[in-house]
Amino acid sequence: MKALHHKQEICDGCRECEKACSKAYFKREDRDYSAIRITNNFNTFHAVMCTQCGECINMCTANAIYRDKNDVVRIDKELCVGCLGCVGFCTELAMHYMDDLMVPFKCIACGICVKKCPEHALVILSSQA
């Protein structure tokens, strides 16, 4: 299973990852449109992002969430009806939505942010699902 991992001890909170993510998928630099969100807790930086746990797959009311060939959890935009159930149910708070979008969005471990991170605090790891 491919998943994005965050090295908290290295991250300096520059948020380049957020910009890279939102730019890649929504053509804007706006963290509200980023699938990774860095939070600052007394200068310790934590990344909120999908762990690819897949808890949302079975609860999806439209059968629109699935694992792709790399076991990454994906949303089928054609099937998704935008109920936002997964947003409410995600215990990692890693499923996001914006009012101008029809479907929620999440980290799909694409690695774009990994390349942009100046501190090399992000890495895509593969493990047994």
Binding site: N58, G82, F89
Partner: protein, 710 residues
């Protein structure tokens, strides 16, 4: 393959703030198809859903219209909030018609996809009038803007096969099956008066068609009387803003907040996601509320055999979404997959059984003295596929069983069926007889009100006893709660518009367990507020369960926890968010009051709706028999001492039963007085002209009816 009798093309209406602005009229007799404008008056005063149903039904029928006259209509509507995907329980279809059980309007609601898909196909409501010459299927394709009436030859009778056949027929491919919904009845609905309607939706995970039901009042019987075998709608392209709402941000925000509550609280509260409404079986048993052997008692030690855990561990599929419309994270529609049938025409087949709902376990289980979960699920399956209203069936058969137990009717009278309490083989055989239209089936399918007459006239049964133990009011069978110790709930069942069901009020815990509404005035307030509040769901296309089957963590700190104030505010906000209007909690109740009073006047117009029609049978109010009194003798004796100042030691059993009855019947009359007053009605139960004017429901046709009774 059906022959096309009529084809009609239309331009699907654009939905704006919850309304398409158009309704569809189909006369299946002369194959007329018309489009009607939804007027501002309809939106202002009737809102939608069952409000629109009743509006059209009133115009369609005359005071003397019978249920099987061609002019009787089946009207369906989804309501302005119906079909939004962000909040739980937003996929209801409301259905109304003149009922074969009650001869007055009945409204019933179902989940499943039909209502929202109908609206997204361009129709705020659908009227079906007339009688077809031959059996037909009505098909609406909302993407193509096409309505087709086709002959129904070669199609299966029972819903689990019929709906699957039609879903496959009208879906473009396997993936398209989720976009098709079928309304159908079943083979028994041809032979009984309490036939119901199945509303289908396709479950892509289980790869099967599933159902929810608009079960009450004989709607399936009417559908088949009109020779409509099925209605089918297809619409592809569900998205979160098909309703073109005024404030999507507000809807999204409230939706996510609610989904989080479901995630965090459901397991701690009712476990709706795990077992659904059947979670309450043992709670009801504990509080003497689980109807047992025709409501004679409120529980049985054997109830543990039909506990939620038994179904969870042995039958139900867990851990996948089980809702009946998109976005419902309450997901209470449970399913037993690969369930092997032991009787009937499908014996040996493995089927999917939806349920069991609470009413199923209590009605087909304890109330018939059946404590076998396998049998209950099999009864559940056959009720659904045959198109039998499970609640009317259960309560009616419980009545028949007690008549048999008390020697009022014989085995011979029942065509040889040994309908003893607990004999589930006989219960299932009776269902199969209903399906085939043979034996005792059609007679048992008349319902309690008509059976009381038959049993007395034909079999010499005691009319007074039948009246006391037959759990019906207005002709409709009671739903499955033993409520003798809750005066408020006696009113909650009997002082209703369509007959005794739990759709209007469920006050037992507030009243009997928590003693929060001790005075007549407090009970009357509850019997005003809750029926009005709950009517509102029916105007909107919403399910009631998400309102109070889960409550916010701090709900107990609010001023009236039973109302779940935060969730009421959610509904106000969602209404405003969809329609762009600005209502508040008080106006929400007003919206319902208008339609509620209209329905009351509709009853008057059809020759009912007066105080004399709001009477419960005594079994609803207190112990009819010696055994019933003795089963809770300590309680009843205590009440004689404390409430009436009598000494039970100095009275024999029959005297105690008699004075208890007199007292309880008086209490009910006092309650009725208080409720009518609170609702703005006369002592005879007629809405006053002042009250109608104040509500803005003094429409000329309404006033004309009311004046005859003032």
């Amino acid at each position: 393959m059906g022959r096309i009798l009529k084809s009609y093309n239309y331009e699907p209406g654009k939905i704006f703030r919850g309304y398409t602005g158009k309704s569809l009229y189909i006369n299946v007799g002369d194959l007329r198809i018309e489009e009607k404008e939804v007027t501002q008056l309809m939106k202002d005063k009737f809102i939608g859903g069952k409000g629109f149903d009743l509006y059209y039904l009133w115009k369609a029928v005359k005071p003397e219209t019978q249920w099987n006259d061609p002019e009787n209509e089946i009207v369906m509507s989804c309501g302005p909030l119906g079909g939004i995907t962000q909040y739980s329980g937003t996929g209801k279809t409301l259905v109304a018609a003149i009922s074969p059980m009650t001869d007055i309007p009945v409204d019933s609601n179902a989940g499943g996809y039909f209502g929202p898909l109908l609206k997204f196909s361009g129709w705020d409501a659908l009227e079906l009038q007339g009688k077809a010459e031959q059996e037909i299927v009505v098909f609406i394709d909302g993407n193509k803007g096409l309505i087709q009436i086709e002959t129904a030859e070669g199609l299966a009778e029972d819903s689990h096969i019929l709906a699957e056949e039609l879903t496959r027929k009208y879906a473009e491919d396997e993936k398209d099956m989720v976009n098709v919904s079928v309304v159908s009845a079943g083979s028994a609905a041809r032979h009984i008066l309490y036939g119901m309607l199945n509303f289908s939706f396709y479950d892509p995970r289980r790869k099967t068609v599933r159902f929810k039901q608009a079960a009450r009042g004989g709607l399936g019987t009417i559908l088949l009387d009109k020779k409509i075998k099925a209605l089918v709608v297809r619409f592809k392209g569900i998205n979160p803003n098909l309703n073109d709402v005024a404030d999507i941000g507000l809807i999204n925000k409230i939706g996510v907040k609610y989904h989080k509550e479901m995630r965090d609280l459901d397991e701690k509260q009712n476990g709706m996601r795990k077992i659904g409404t059947a979670n309450t079986i043992l709670v009801m048993n504990k509080y003497d509320l689980l109807p047992t052997r025709n409501f004679q008692t409120g529980g049985d030690p054997e109830a543990v055999k039909i506990s939620p855990q038994v179904f969870i561990e042995n039958f139900l599929t867990q851990g996948i979404h089980d809702g009946c419309w998109y976005g419902c994270t309450m997901s209470c529609a449970k399913t037993a997959d690969h369930f092997k049938l032991l009787t009937g025409p499908y014996k040996g087949e493995c089927v999917t059984v939806d349920g069991p709902e609470y009413e199923c376990v209590a009605g087909l289980g304890s109330n018939l003295g059946v404590f076998d979960p396998q049998a209950i699920l099999e009864e559940n399956f056959y009720c659904d596929t045959y198109g039998i209203d499970l609640i009317s069936f259960a309560t009616c058969i419980a009545f028949i069983m007690e008549c048999y137990q008390r020697g009022q009717i014989s085995q011979e009278d029942m065509g040889g069926l040994d309908l003893r309490f607990g004999n589930h083989e006989a219960v299932l055989e009776l269902m199969h007889q209903m399906s085939r239209g043979e034996g005792f089936g059609p007679m048992a399918g008349l319902g309690i009100r008509k059976l009381k007459k038959v049993f007395a006239e034909k079999f010499g049964a005691d009319p007074q006893l039948l009246q006391d133990i037959g759990m019906e009011s207005k002709g409709l069978e009671y739903s499955e709660y033993c409520h003798k110790e809750s005066l408020a709930q006696q009113g909650g069942f009997a002082l209703t518009n369509k007959g005794p069901q739990h759709d209007e009020a469920w006050l037992i815990f507030m009243d009997m367990v928590n003693n929060q509404i001790p005075s007549f005035e407090e009970k009357a307030e509850a019997l005003h507020y809750y029926p009005m509040f709950r009517t509102w769901f029916g105007l909107m296309g919403l399910c009631k369960l998400p309102w109070n089957d889960i409550v916010p963590a701090d709900n107990h700190l609010t001023d009236i926890p039973a109302r779940v104030p935060e969730h009421v505010q959610n509904y106000v906000d969602i209404f405003n968010g969809v329609t762009g209007m600005q209502i508040d909690k008080a106006e929400l109740i007003r919206q319902s009051e208008r339609v509620y009073n209209f329905q009351r006047v509709f009853n008057l117009r059809m020759g009912s709706g007066l105080r004399q029609h709001d009477k419960p049978p005594y079994r609803s109010m207190g112990p009819v028999s010696r055994e019933e009194y003795e089963s809770r003798q300590d309680l009843y004796d205590k009440q004689l001492r404390e409430k009436q100042g009598l000494d039970p030691e100095k009275m024999n059993l029959d005297e105690k039963i008699a004075v208890t009855r007199k007292y309880r019947e008086q209490q009910f009359e006092l309650l009725t007085d208080a409720v009518y007053k609170r609702r703005g009605w006369t002592k005879q139960g007629v809405p006053t002209l002042e009250h109608l004017a104040e509500l803005g429901m003094d429409l000329p046709e309404v006033v004309e009816v009311v004046k005859q009774y003032l």
